[in-house]
């Protein structure tokens, strides 16, 4: 037995000493210096929220649309343009008016010229003819209209005289639209048989009558008509030099979704849901607090809507206070949007 013990002891001693010197610390794994992956919370608003401007203009500090010609401002206008009404169509260079004039001029131009001359003389017979019509139909108002008919023409002429440029505007506006529209309704009403009886002798008179009817409602129609140029764009006025931007400003100074998520996760990390409360997932607390520009609390947070449990309310307040110790990490350039924060603490998501 002695030999066994001595052999064993010697063997172990040898192995252990051998192990001590050879089985030293294994080589540590050589891990290359991996740089931490920088994760930025990139606000998507730089893409989704753009300022109004000109899409083709060079980039400038402040986006601005193409300057408009007319200086008079229109209230609450959204779209830039020279019109008085805010139209959705974008302002386009006025190349089209010329071709429109050529096609539209011939029919409308002679009519207005003829009308002022003939109307005063031809009105009485027309009235006689027209009178039965109003009785049958509901058109009593047309009667005084002949007097008014005279007015628009001089006014228009005056306008034309005053603004020779307006000719181009007026022609396409008045000519095409009213000519086409009043006729179909007339044909539909009961007037048609009357005309057949009375207009048979003079076809010209019927034509005149039509034009008369037109004149009757012309004022109204004219009033209703959209005198804005289709190419004029909206009514918003711009005086700045054109700079890169979108058609209209989308969104404003708002926290983007990612930034709101960041704020949410910050608060969620600080929040410990009160444990052991009955219906803990029903405890919804709304807390309001003000922040200073450096992302710390200004004043103390207050419970706007209590959960009905003091524990839950305090846990929400505690969450805000704990986060305050680190400071809220929010974009300082949007301070105005997060100067006051209202947070809904809703634990139902956490269960």
């Amino acid at each position: 037995m002695k030999t066994g013990i001595t052999t064993s002891v010697i063997l172990h001693a040898a192995v252990l000493t051998f192990g001590l010197f050879t089985l030293s610390a294994p080589k540590p794994y050589e891990v290359g210096d991996v740089e931490a992956l920088p994760v930025d919370i990139v606000p998507v608003q730089s893409i989704t929220q753009v300022q109004e401007g000109d899409k083709k203009a060079p980039k400038k500090e402040k986006s601005a649309p193409k300057p408009t010609v007319r200086p008079d401002p229109v209230q609450d206008a959204q779209k830039v343009g020279d019109n008085n009404q805010d139209m959705k169509s974008p302002p386009t260079p006025e190349v089209k008016p010329k071709p429109v004039e050529k096609t539209a001029e011939p029919p409308p131009a002679p009519e207005p010229v003829v009308k002022p001359a003939e109307k005063p003389t031809e009105q009485p017979p027309k009235k006689a003819e027209a009178k039965p019509e109003p009785v049958a139909a509901t058109e009593r108002t047309p009667q005084p209209q002949p007097k008014q008919e005279v007015k628009p023409d001089p006014v228009q002429q005056a306008i034309i005289a005053e603004n020779p440029d307006a000719e181009a505007m007026k022609l396409p506006e008045t000519a095409p639209a009213p000519d086409a529209r009043p006729q179909p309704p007339q044909a539909q009403t009961a007037k048609a048989p009357d005309r057949k009886v009375s207009d048979k002798p003079a076809v010209k008179e019927a034509a005149r009558q039509k034009s008369e009817d037109k004149d009757f409602s012309l004022d109204k129609v004219a009033a209703l008509l959209n005198k804005e140029k289709a190419s004029g764009g909206g009514a918003k006025r711009s005086t700045d030099e054109a700079a890169l931007g979108a058609d209209h400003t989308t969104g404003g100074e708002k926290l983007s979704q990612s930034e709101m998520d960041a704020l949410r996760s910050q608060l969620a990390g600080c929040w410990t849901i009160p444990a052991g409360v009955v219906d803990a997932d029903q405890l919804k607390v709304t807390v309001e607090f003000s922040l200073s520009r450096d992302g710390h609390l200004e004043g103390s947070p207050r419970v706007v809507r209590s959960a009905g449990s003091r524990q839950a309310d305090e846990s929400a307040l505690r969450a805000v206070n704990i986060c305050n110790q680190r400071g809220f990490n929010l974009p300082s350039d949007k301070y105005q949007t997060w100067a006051n924060v209202v947070v809904h603490f809703d634990p139902s998501d956490m269960f």
């Binding site: 037995m1 030999t3 066994g4 013990i5 052999t7 064993s8 002891v9 063997l11 172990h12 192990g19 001590l20 089985l23 030293s24 610390a25 294994p26």
Partner: protein, 238 residues
């Protein structure tokens, strides 16, 4: 393992450093397992020597026994020195034979049974000598892994408690504690594996030697029985 040593994790992770940084329970377990390993190897070495000698002596005895030498002469030469194995069985049987005939035994049947008993006794004694301490190997082989595991569990427990104290789950903080705890399992396996292998080998060797000795004792018993019959017949004839 206290919190401080974890907070500043050991840079050296050699076996010795791991052992030195381990808690006292783990250290105790490791030292115990080391002692068990030493004892196991001592038994293994001792048994290998014993069995080798035994096998050699059995071969030599069988050679002498079947060489046609007179049993009386053999007894005379063997009784003078210490004998093991078959020699011991032979001497035990011859001693009983001699005693019975010197005092003039009456019943040959009783003599036969006495000689058998003496040989059985000698055989049992020899087998006891051969198989002694093999049980320890079996015990170590089966329990050392558990002892090592116990050390590991305790080590990991304390190391986790320390991690909880240090409030850092960095792998560099966690790793040394777990490594030193695993060292205990390594020690347990280191002791258990040779013990199991040696136990199986040695116990089969011992049983082989036992069978050989049993065969000899049966054979010798038959020879003696024939001798007794011859003597009885001779006495009746005389």
């Amino acid at each position: 393992m206290d919190t401080l040593s974890l907070a500043a994790p050991v840079t050296e992770v050699s076996v010795w450093a791991l052992f030195w940084h381990a808690g006292w329970v783990v250290k105790l377990v490791m030292i115990g397992l080391l002692c068990a390993s030493v004892w196991t190897w001592a038994i293994i070495v001792d048994k290998i020597i014993t069995y080798t000698r035994m096998r050699a002596s059995l071969n030599r005895f069988e050679q002498i026994f079947w060489s046609g030498q007179s049993l009386e002469d053999l007894y005379r030469t063997l009784s003078e020195r210490k004998t093991t194995g078959m020699g011991a069985i032979f001497i035990a049987a011859m001693r009983e034979w001699k005693k019975s005939f010197e005092k003039g035994a009456k019943s040959p049947l009783a003599l036969q049974s006495r000689i058998d008993k003496a040989m059985d006794l000698a055989l049992t004694r020899e087998m006891e000598n051969l198989e002694g301490r093999l049980g320890f190997l079996a015990t170590i082989g089966s329990s050392a892994p558990f002892i090592g595991l116990f050390g590991t569990v305790v080590g990991i427990m304390t190391s986790f408690q320390a991690i909880a104290g240090s409030k850092s789950t960095n792998l560099a903080v966690v790793a040394p504690g777990i490594a030193e705890a695993l060292l205990a399992t390594a020690f347990g396996l280191l002791a258990a594996i040779p013990a199991v292998i040696a136990y199986n080998k040695l116990s089969s060797d011992a049983s082989k030697l036992g069978v050989r000795m049993e065969g000899f004792s049966d054979e010798f018993s038959a020879i003696l029985s024939r001798q007794i019959d011859e003597k009885v017949a001779h006495q009746r004839a005389a």
